[in-house]
């Protein structure tokens, strides 16, 4: 059928800290917990490594949602990294919201290495939320389009 | 049949019987224990097994004082009294199954009996 509408598949970038969340994502896999393939994970040493620039770049290149996962407050491998991340993202997300990137498209979550189930549940929920919002067009750089 | 009844009890009560670790503290604390055929911990276990009809037929469902002692003291938050309540409701919600009928009241009255007792008994025993 030539006119078949392809179901919207969001592009989602997940930044996961190496010590907690990336391990939590691995555990989700070890326990065979499903979440959509739309989520692609980038490993960073700590949530505080994530530069707001990376998130802007993701939206510019057509990402529909970006999620940042780190250790629970107080559990950061580097003591305070997740606090920096939380503060930076609060500012960034409210600015993005102002620019028309809805707050629901960005998220910070704490996932420990033991929380495989939480990781999968979080991703399922996030993908569902972003899918409902539809394609992100606000920051997309049309020059990046093919 | 019993699966449907069990599902009804679980839905009405909101209780998760699988949380029970079978310590028996509910029955240790129940003030109506000696008047009951099935005791609070048996309510939990029998609901888990789906033996709802036996419980519905038992006078035990009218002996719970709703004193919340089992709910207060359960180490697993199982709340057995809610099961008793749900099963009693399943009985009295059926036509003609009221455990207390208005005609019975006059002979139960005495001078001091507070209204509170009558309204509570109607809440618990009749629809």
């Amino acid at each position: 059928m030539p006119n078949e509408v392809k179901a919207f598949k969001p592009k989602i970038v997940a930044f996961c800290c190496n010590w907690c969340s990336y391990a939590g994502a691995d555990l989700a896999g070890t326990n065979r917990l499903n979440y959509p393939a739309d989520v692609k994970i980038i490993r960073v040493p700590c949530s505080c490594r994530v530069n707001p620039m990376f998130i802007l770049r993701a939206f510019q290149r057509g990402a529909d949602g970006v999620i940042l996962c780190g250790c629970h407050p107080g559990d950061c491998h580097y003591t305070t990294g997740n606090y920096y991340a939380r503060r930076r993202m609060t500012l960034l997300f409210s600015m993005l919201d102002y620019l028309g990137i809805e707050k629901e498209r960005t998220r910070v979550e704490w996932v420990s290495a033991a929380e495989g189930a939480k990781f999968a549940a979080t991703m399922n929920d996030f993908v569902e939320t972003v899918t409902r919002l539809g394609e992100n067009k606000r920051l997309e750089d049309l020059r990046c389009k093919e | 049949m019993s699966d449907r009844l069990k599902e009804q009890v679980l839905r009405t009560s909101g209780v998760n019987v699988l949380k029970c670790m079978r310590c028996g503290k509910c029955s240790a604390t129940c003030p109506s224990y000696d008047e009951m055929e099935y005791h609070p911990h048996q309510f939990v276990y029998m609901v888990e097994k789906g033996e709802i009809e036996k419980l519905m037929a038992s006078p035990s469902i009218y002996k719970c004082l709703s004193c919340f002692a089992c709910i207060e003291r359960c180490p697993r938050d199982v709340e057995p009294a809610k099961l008793v309540e749900a099963i009693r409701l399943m009985v009295i919600r059926q036509q003609g199954q009221n455990h207390l009928k208005p005609g019975q009241i006059p002979e139960m009255l005495d001078e001091e009996l507070p209204q509170q007792a009558i309204v509570t008994a109607f809440r618990k025993y009749a629809k």
């Binding site: - | 839905r11 009405t12 009560s13 909101g14 003030p31 109506s32 008047e35 009218y62 002996k63 004082l65 709703s66 004193c67 919340f68 002692a69 709910i71 207060e72 709340e79 009294a81 809610k82 309540e85 749900a86 409701l89 207390l100 139960m108 005495d110 001091e112 009996l113 507070p114 209204q115 509170q116 007792a117 009558i118 309204v119 509570t120 008994a121 809440r123 618990k124």
Partner: protein, 260 residues
């Protein structure tokens, strides 16, 4: 201070004293209790079933009407029903939605009203130290056993009034009116409740255990906030029996307003 006040059915009939002394004392303490314009009986027992909506609506109505002022209750049973209903309205979204759909209130109600038992009002609004200062006829030398029963404190997480296993609010009250509290272990066990209607035997056993425990602790009298407890203790407990009073009666006596 002004509070809405919910007396309940029994306080209008068999337990008029509980109500009358409460009003006189509140007035003496500078608190205005405004009886809700329209209230219906709470039903005496909170239905623990998730699918019982209609039986809880009278409480929701009272709660919604008291939004501006907060609500003071007195009878243990009303207190239990109204506080549990309020908790359900605040925490059980499904129940709150159904109740609001029924009620068709102008502003939906979601458990905002603060519910205080009269004793909580004495403790948290008046303050037991202020109460002690207002006492004109201290009940010095009286050894009083507080009877909480089951409904005043449980379920502890919902009523959040006092430690349900080792409460002290009534003992502190007893001290405030100049008397001496007597501790006994069955003060938070059930008196037999409404089952007294069809099983006097059970009521006799349960209230008997409570009464005997208070007698052994060498109390002169007992106090309660519940008409049904008072009934079971005075009517069904075997001898020897202590006199049982509503706590408001002793309060009015201590404040010197009993004969007003």
């Amino acid at each position: 201070m002004i509070f809405s006040y919910y007396p309940g059915c029994t306080l209008k009939t068999k337990a008029k004293d509980l109500d009358r002394y409460a009003r006189l004392s509140a007035e003496a303490l500078g608190i205005e209790l405004r009886e809700l314009a329209e209230w219906q009986c709470c039903g005496g027992a909170f239905s623990m079933a998730k699918d019982e909506i209609a039986t809880k609506l009278s409480s929701v109505r009272a709660l919604a009407d008291a939004r501006e002022t907060g609500l003071v209750t007195l009878c243990s049973a009303c207190h239990n029903v109204i506080k549990q209903t309020n908790h359900a309205m605040a925490t059980d979204a499904d129940f709150a939605m159904k109740a609001n759909n029924y009620m068709k209130l102008e502003t939906p109600y979601n458990g905002e009203t603060q519910v205080l038992h009269y004793l909580e009002m004495l403790r948290d609004v008046v303050g037991f130290d202020k109460l002690a200062a207002a006492v004109k006829n201290p009940l010095t030398g009286k050894k009083i056993a507080a009877y909480y029963g089951c409904l005043l404190l449980r379920p502890g997480k919902v009523l959040a009034m006092d430690n349900p296993e080792n409460p002290k609010i009534m003992e502190d009250f007893i001290r405030a009116i100049g008397a001496t509290p007597v501790l006994y272990p069955y003060r938070n066990e059930c008196c037999g409740g409404y089952v007294t209607m069809e099983d006097k035997n059970l009521a006799a056993k349960k209230s008997g255990t409570v009464m005997q425990s208070a007698v052994e602790a060498e109390a002169d009298m007992m106090i309660t906030a519940c008409p049904l407890c008072l009934y079971n203790l005075t009517k069904n407990a075997p001898e020897p029996r202590l006199p049982v009073y509503y706590f408001t009666e002793l309060l009015a006596e201590a404040l010197g307003v009993k004969e007003a």
